[in-house]
């Protein structure tokens, strides 16, 4: 395995991603952590955080019950199915008639999720890379644990994908083989909200969650908003139970508003006083907790107007 050689700032953000992703996701009624980071530049910072977050072992907060739709690696592909009790003594669970152990990574697929989500198969090349990176034949269990609880990266999709490609192509030594195998997926489907839970990372535009309550109710291991526009415009119910990291570029045109917005959030919710590892010079942090509430589901414009008129 090749040696990692990355600058300190990149390693710090990676370490931060790991530390924050380790925090268990919350359920309704709990308080969920938000971390705002004011940075001299945020380009590529988000990918360091994503890479770090994917290094952690984490399970979804919501444990699926029998009869619920779940996503899992079944039949050599990522696909949705109904969770059932296994009739076999060798397996605890069963999806699509295939027996699975109780430790098999699965995650709930909320009601309202498109029913006909096309299963995802991996190409032979992808499988080979994963086998090499993980170092064993049972790479799919490891890989699935990342996919069913992915990292959500919110922002400008084109720009973010371009930065990821630049990082992997020009600075491969900044990432481990495993990180590269998780980040380097060339499928355009990682920006498709319908394919959430099928990839280790999903890159989403902030408005996508507005009309998709099921996407808001899915779980991420970490939500990273790559700009003020991203965290200002994303639905407040979006994956509330996961910790969120909100990045502010001090060089950005809306930097003053972004900092003021966060100060306001800290004032409203109270300072979380969450201890972060000592940040690099020029990086400043604010932390606060938000209440996790039940998602109201889809509200149509008509319903919205009626409420407004009342």
């Amino acid at each position: 395995m090749s040696e990692i050689s990355a600058p300190d700032w990149f390693l710090w953000f990676k370490n931060l991603g790991s530390r924050i992703a380790e925090i268990s996701n919350c359920i309704s009624g709990d308080k969920s952590l938000r971390i705002a980071l004011s940075c001299p530049s945020i380009d590529f910072v988000q990918w360091a955080i994503v890479a770090g977050a994917l290094n952690t072992e984490k399970r979804p907060a919501h444990v699926p019950e029998f009869g619920e739709t779940v996503v899992a690696w079944v039949g050599s592909k990522m696909q949705d199915g109904t969770l059932e009790a296994s009739h076999s003594t060798k397996a605890a669970l069963s999806i699509k008639g295939i027996g699975l152990s109780s430790e098999w990574p699965i995650a709930r697929v909320p009601d309202g999720t498109p029913v006909a989500r096309t299963p995802r198969s991996l190409s032979d090349l992808e499988k080979e890379e994963l086998r090499k990176a993980v170092g064993r034949n049972s790479w799919y269990s490891w890989y699935t644990s990342k996919c069913v609880l992915p990292v959500s990266l919110i922002g400008n999709k084109g720009e973010l994908i371009s930065q990821r490609d630049h990082l992997i192509d020009h600075y491969p030594t900044w990432l481990t083989e495993q990180e590269k195998s998780l980040l380097g997926i060339q499928s355009g489907q990682i920006v498709n909200p319908n394919k959430f839970q099928y990839f280790p990372v999903s890159v989403l535009a902030p408005q996508l969650a507005d009309t998709r309550p099921w996407l808001r109710q899915m779980e991420s291991r970490l939500v990273v908003s790559s700009s003020y526009t991203a965290f200002r415009n994303i639905d407040p119910y979006f994956q509330q139970g996961a910790p969120h990291i909100q990045l502010i570029d001090r060089r950005g045109w809306n930097s003053v508003d972004a900092h003021a917005h966060i100060e306001n959030q800290v004032e409203v919710h109270g300072d979380a006083k969450f201890e972060l590892p000592s940040p690099p010079r020029g990086v400043f942090a604010r932390t606060y907790f938000v209440d996790v509430n039940v998602d109201p589901g889809h509200i149509s414009l008509d319903e919205d107007l009626e409420e407004f008129e009342l």
Binding site: P7, W9, S38, P40, S41, D43, F44, V45, E159, S162, Q163, H166, L167, H170, Y171, R250, R251, S255, V256, H259, A260, I262, E263, P280, R281, G282, F284, R286
Partner: protein
């Protein structure tokens, strides 16, 4: 433009050794030009100026933007100055703005032949730049001059003429670039952004000093720049590099004395032969205790009466003074106070001779006759219980009318600067020859401003030439200094600032008062 990791890497890389050096320079000619231009801008805010005047103001504001945020010598933008003088000003010269324009053109001439203090600093920094090796094996400059967008062409052309090499950027273009070895920001960060609110401008431009645009950043402050205080650039409290990360040179610190808290005497009740019982001339003033149990009062609002004149002193004994708001004065701050007679004589005398010299002998007599007539008329009006009602009935807001009536007792105030407002007062006090009076008062305003500059210069020179007053002040005493053409001044450190407002005539503000409440005359000092 697609982001490059090299840019992010250079920014984080520069953070480890980033330092800021702030230098302040004086440029009296640009300062005078800015004041003069600001006057015309203010005067033409409400009234549409003529095309010619508008053109002159526009050209001057470009000159201002270029010079306060770039290293170019004024002579190198000769054509821009020349364009001011070819405009036909005949029509403007017949309006009430004639004096203002005349003054602007005089100071513009002086500015053109002056030296930009940024030039020498820039040349020094550029010539010390070792450069960096580029990909093609050539040394390229590693100094970046950050200038106003209006100055780009002039700076490049100046560099060519001087055979100097540096990259020239605007703040906006720099926003997407990586950190260099060295950058020079001409003017405070606020001058590189667009906002009329100075606090907001500090915030929007804060990235220039909180994101390393270079390992070493020089911030050069001149006329028009905001004083450099790190907290102005904090978007979150505490968001700054440690104090050791930047040093300020050439910015004089306040001259302050450690005051040991002791017994504070009771604030004196003012005894004055001026009517105090009239509500128009009496204002709420706050006391400031000086050594020797002497007192001085200032209005809390900045625009009423004189403001405290505080002393700045550098390590090399450089001296400067500056008027500040009362809220900026603290216990220990050294202030300069004028006594009764030393007040305005110099200003009036200088203004008179300036008017006579420019407009013919005898003009000043006529002008000051109008001023006297207007001032005493409004003072009489302020004693009339119906005055406020009459003024508001004429269309003035009550608050403003009250302010104008009060300031008629303030010898630093001349007359309303808006013609319609002036006409309302002139009519109420039954003043004749309104048009001629208006012109005279405009002339006095310009002349007084000119005299003010000279007085300040005289005061600073005298303070620099004498050390004795400093010994007295440092020992906790009240020093007395006779300044030629200005008169007797007292200098001392503030001992206490009791928060006890007291109503008093505006004429008593800013003057030395004894413990028994009487005003101290020159001969008592």
């Amino acid at each position: 433009m697609k982001a490059k990791i090299e840019v992010t890497e250079s920014i984080f890389g520069a953070l480890s050794s980033h330092s800021i050096e702030v230098r302040a320079v004086e440029w009296p000619e640009l300062l005078a030009f800015q004041y003069s231009l600001a006057y015309l801008e203010r005067e033409t805010q409400m009234v549409q100026p003529t095309i010619e005047l508008e053109s002159i103001i526009k050209k001057c504001s470009i000159i201002r933007r270029v010079l306060r945020a770039s290293p170019v010598p004024p002579s190198s933008i000769h054509e821009q100055f020349l364009s001011l003088f070819i405009i036909d000003t005949q029509q403007i010269m017949q309006s009430h703005l004639a004096q203002g324009l005349a003054h602007l053109l005089i100071v513009a001439k002086e500015l053109e032949s002056s030296v930009n203090p940024f030039t020498e600093i820039a040349v020094d920094i550029i010539s010390k730049d070792p450069g960096v090796l580029s990909g093609s094996g050539k040394f390229v400059p590693d100094v970046c001059l950050v200038v106003h967008s209006d100055a780009i062409l002039a700076v490049n052309s100046w560099l060519d003429g001087e055979d100097l090499s540096a990259s020239v950027e605007t703040a906006r273009r720099l926003q997407k670039q990586g950190a260099r070895g060295c950058a020079v920001l001409f003017g405070s960060p606020e001058l590189h952004t667009y906002s009329h609110n100075v606090d907001y401008a500090s915030k929007t431009s804060s990235w220039l000093v909180t994101v390393p645009v270079a390992k070493k950043l020089f911030v050069l402050l001149g006329p028009g720049s905001r004083d450099y205080k790190s907290q102005n650039y904090e978007l979150w409290s505490g968001m700054r590099f440690t104090d050791s990360d930047f040093k300020i040179s050439n910015v004089l610190p306040r001259f302050e004395i450690d005051i040991v808290p002791t017994w504070i005497p009771a604030t004196p009740k003012i005894k004055s032969n001026v009517l105090v019982n009239d509500t128009m001339s009496a204002i709420d003033a706050f006391p400031v205790l000086l050594p020797g149990d002497k007192w001085i009062f200032f209005a809390k609002e900045n625009n009423i009466g004189p403001s405290p004149l505080v002393v700045y002193r550098g390590q090399e004994n450089e001296i400067s003074v500056k008027t500040v708001g009362l809220k900026e004065v603290q216990v220990g701050t050294v202030v300069v106070v004028r006594s009764e007679k030393s007040s305005r004589d110099f200003l009036y005398e200088t203004a008179e001779s300036w008017i006579d010299k420019r407009h013919g002998a005898g003009t000043a007599n006529v002008d000051f006759h109008f001023l006297e007539q207007f001032r005493t008329g409004v003072q009489r009006l302020s004693l009339d219980p119906d005055a406020l009602g009459n003024l508001t009935a004429s269309g003035l807001e009550a608050l403003y009318a009250r302010y104008r009536l009060r300031t008629s007792w303030d010898d630093s105030s001349i007359a309303p600067q808006k013609l319609p407002v002036f006409k309302i007062f002139a009519k109420l006090i039954e003043m004749n020859e309104i048009a001629a009076a208006w012109e005279s008062l405009a002339r006095i305003r310009v002349a007084m401003r000119q005299a003010g500059h000279l007085a300040l210069k005289e005061l600073i020179d005298q303070l620099k030439n004498s050390d004795e007053w400093q010994v007295t002040v440092e020992a906790g005493g009240l020093a007395s200094l006779a300044v030629e053409n200005i008169g007797q001044l007292s200098i001392g450190a503030v001992r206490a600032l009791p928060n006890e407002a007291q109503a008093m005539p505006i004429t008593m503000l800013g003057k030395l008062i004894d413990a028994d409440g009487t005003m101290i005359e020159d001969e008592d000092l």
